[in-house]
């Protein structure tokens, strides 16, 4: 990060400052020390549970992260709330139906994966906010503000989930135990839920975990366009201004969140598929 061109002090001083002032600010924020000394100082802060203060706002980074995280969590949950059922349903339908429906769903998922978020965000805002006046175009707050960004954010996750679900289920449908289940005279719905879906769930949970983990680290474009006050925008502004304490804080918080989500996913695997063991039990 420090190897990147750009100097936080130059951003702090505006357009006009004397060399003495620049040196003084560099000293006051500790940027005059060597890299090793700066790193040790930061580790010392971390050990005390402190992420430091922003160079610009002087605000405590940890406080800001805890203020913004609930917004990011809300947006991620809402996006997944839309993406998971819809994605799985679409994938299921595409796997089971050949012909027109399959092709239609394929078209939807491929566009969902390839259309950039900034484009879909703007189009959706123009339609639902400006023309239909159903939702506010921007802001952070209750569910009214959440719908549009959550919908936009859910599109790529929905598309990738649908594709994975379709591929997995198509494979499962060719397996002998499905034929057996059908031959036993089970109803189609029972076969779908107990035999097909249950066996397809592991890769689906993996995709959900990955998407959810990345959404929890912020969705910069969606947050920026809809003015949503989340971790993504906070991190991005930190990077643009070279606000090192903010960048470090966000990266550390993001890493912790990612590890936790991965852990939860692993635990869920065990409950979904008892063959996956939590402990290194007997062989």
């Amino acid at each position: 990060m420090k190897a990147l061109p750009g100097d936080p002090v130059l951003n702090l001083i505006g357009e006009r400052a004397s060399p003495e002032t620049i040196e003084n600010i560099r000293k006051e924020i500790g940027a005059d020390k060597g890299l090793a000394a700066q790193y040790m100082g930061y580790l010392g802060l971390l050990l005390r549970g402190n992420l430091g203060r922003s160079y610009y706002t002087n605000r405590d980074v940890l406080t800001d992260i805890t203020l913004k995280f609930p917004n990011t969590l809300g947006l991620a949950l809402a996006a997944m709330f839309i993406a998971v059922p819809a994605g799985i349903l679409l994938g299921f339908m595409a796997a089971k139906r050949r012909g027109f429906i399959d092709k239609l769903i394929d078209t939807i998922t491929i566009s969902g994966l390839s259309v950039p978020v900034f484009w879909s965000a703007i189009i959706i805002m123009l339609i639902f906010s400006l023309k239909l006046r159903l939702f506010p175009p921007s802001g952070t707050g209750d569910i009214r503000f959440l719908i549009l960004p959550a919908f936009v954010l859910s599109i790529p996750a929905l598309a990738s989930l649908a594709r994975v679900t379709k591929t997995v289920i198509k494979d499962i449908l060719t397996l002998p135990y499905i034929a057996t289940a059908k031959a036993k005279g089970l109803s189609s719905l029972r076969v779908d839920i107990i035999h097909v879906f249950k066996n397809a769930i592991i890769p689906i949970v993996t995709i959900i975990g990955l998407d959810f983990g990345s959404y929890l680290n912020g969705a910069v474009v969606t947050e920026t366009i809809f003015g949503w006050d989340g971790i993504g925008r906070f991190t991005m502004e930190g990077i643009i201004k070279r606000d090192y304490p903010v960048i470090m804080g966000c990266i550390i918080a993001g890493t912790v969140i990612f590890v936790i989500i991965n852990l939860i996913t692993d635990v869920i695997y065990h409950y979904l598929d008892p063959r996956i063991r939590l402990h290194g039990e007997e062989k």
Binding site: L4, P5, G6, D7, P8, L10, N11, L12, I13, G14, E15, R16, A17, S18, P19, E20, T21, N24, I25, K27, E28, I29, R53, Y56, T57, N58, R59, D60, P85, L89, F92, M93, K96, I122, L126, S129, L130, R133, L134, F135, P136, P137, S138, G139, T140, I143, R144, I147, L189, T224, I225, F226, G227, D229, R233, F234, E237, I240, K241, R242
Partner: protein, 528 residues
Amino acid sequence: MNSLIGDAFRTLIPAVLLVIALSCSSSSRLEGHIYYRLNVNPSTLDPALITDVSGASIAAKLFNGLVKLNGDLEVIPDIAERWEVAKDGLKYRFFIRRGVTFHNGRKVNAMDFKFSFERVLNPKTRSPNTWVFDRVQGAKKFIEGKDREVSGFKIINDYAFEIILDRPFSPFLNMLTMTAAYVVPKEEVEREGYDFPSEPVGSGPFILKSWLPNRELLLKVNDRYFDRKPLIRGIVYRIIPEDLTAITEFELGNIDVIYLPASAYSTFKNDKSWSRNLISFKGLNTYYLGMNTSRPPFDNINLRRAISLAIDREKILRTLYEGRGRLAAGPVPDLLRKWEIKETLGYNPKEAKEIIKREGASGLKINMHVTADQEVVDLAEVVQSFLSEAGMNVNIKQLEWSAYKESINKGEPDMFWLSWWADYPDAENFLFPLFHSSNFGAAGNRTRYSNREVDLLIERGQHSINERERNSYYKRAEELIIRDTPWVFFWHRTDYLVRQPWIKDYTMYPIYTIDKGTEVGIKKGADH
């Protein structure tokens, strides 16, 4: 499967309807409040630290200084009801109004000004604005820690405050209108510590009620304000980073006044219902193409002049910029220039080509650095094509703002695109920081232009207390700078805002601190 889908739809439809019903509920605007848009979160509202436009325009509504500017860019009383300047131009004595109170109820006195100004100079404050006061007697010693107070800030009594300068300095009174010269209450600064920049206490017509970073700021009227009281109950600043989103909010009536981004200008101008509500204002700024005069190829004055001759600025302004500006004759904005400039370099591609050939610079490769802003990149490409016609190869390098600033401060590119905006309305603000040889790099002179005669003329202007004499120095300095052409002088930008029909008496001023929010009003019975 079908029943599964059917069930899903049966649950989803009522849920969607509920959400739509919720969202169509009445707008959540606060009555009597004006809604503005900011594109970025202000970094700080501590007047000692502010360097950005959004911070300065909000701080102007929360704080006061000794003096302020009016719409005609004249210095008028603020907390000081009058002042006297000694004949030698060294002593400024300010007489402070009685009964001015901070938002916490305490009366403002001379001690507060001494504290606030010394605070700007104190290294612990980390203020980038020390230059505002560094010409005050004893300031340097105080900064270096040799003195415990600044001898040039003198308390005569509770309601009289004196500032003594090292040497006469003509722009000083103008500089006292800047945010760095606002008064802050010592007890609140000390009590709040790190939180003062986000929970500031001043004496202005508005009080900061809440600030949700990256979301919005809410200002409420200060009922005890000593001067003209606002006509509105409060101001809401909504932070909306994306231009298109902000325009959508404006069209929905959720924002009252909005600065028009270039991409939206022609749409609003050509729309009959909006064009009536367009407000234009001439900015105190100069946009320029800077050339690094400290090394080849642009240490050669002839080549610099050739570059200026090769670019049809008038055409670029008319077409690419849709006429949003006034062509610049020199670095000093038309609104601040009190003299006439006779000789300017026009567009003469033939002559440019000849000079470039004569100087042996045909086919020469030049590095041009620009920010990654699309408007700037478009312009850079036009400049590139003009210069290629004249026989020079321009290599454009886009950098994001932090990296760009570092590169131009270090003097890395041969050529760069930048603008300078007035801190205070004085021609000196467009000469000293930008062309004096003591200000290379971050202090403003990024072309590393050095001319002993220009240095002397600017210094004489600064120290002269006679206005006519001062203007004659500045005129001569500007003429020399135009002759030496360290910049291609492009234009002074004119900006546009659009307001809602229910907003009355909104004026945009060329200096952001002039608007204290006390003039704008909302028409009665306005339905929005």
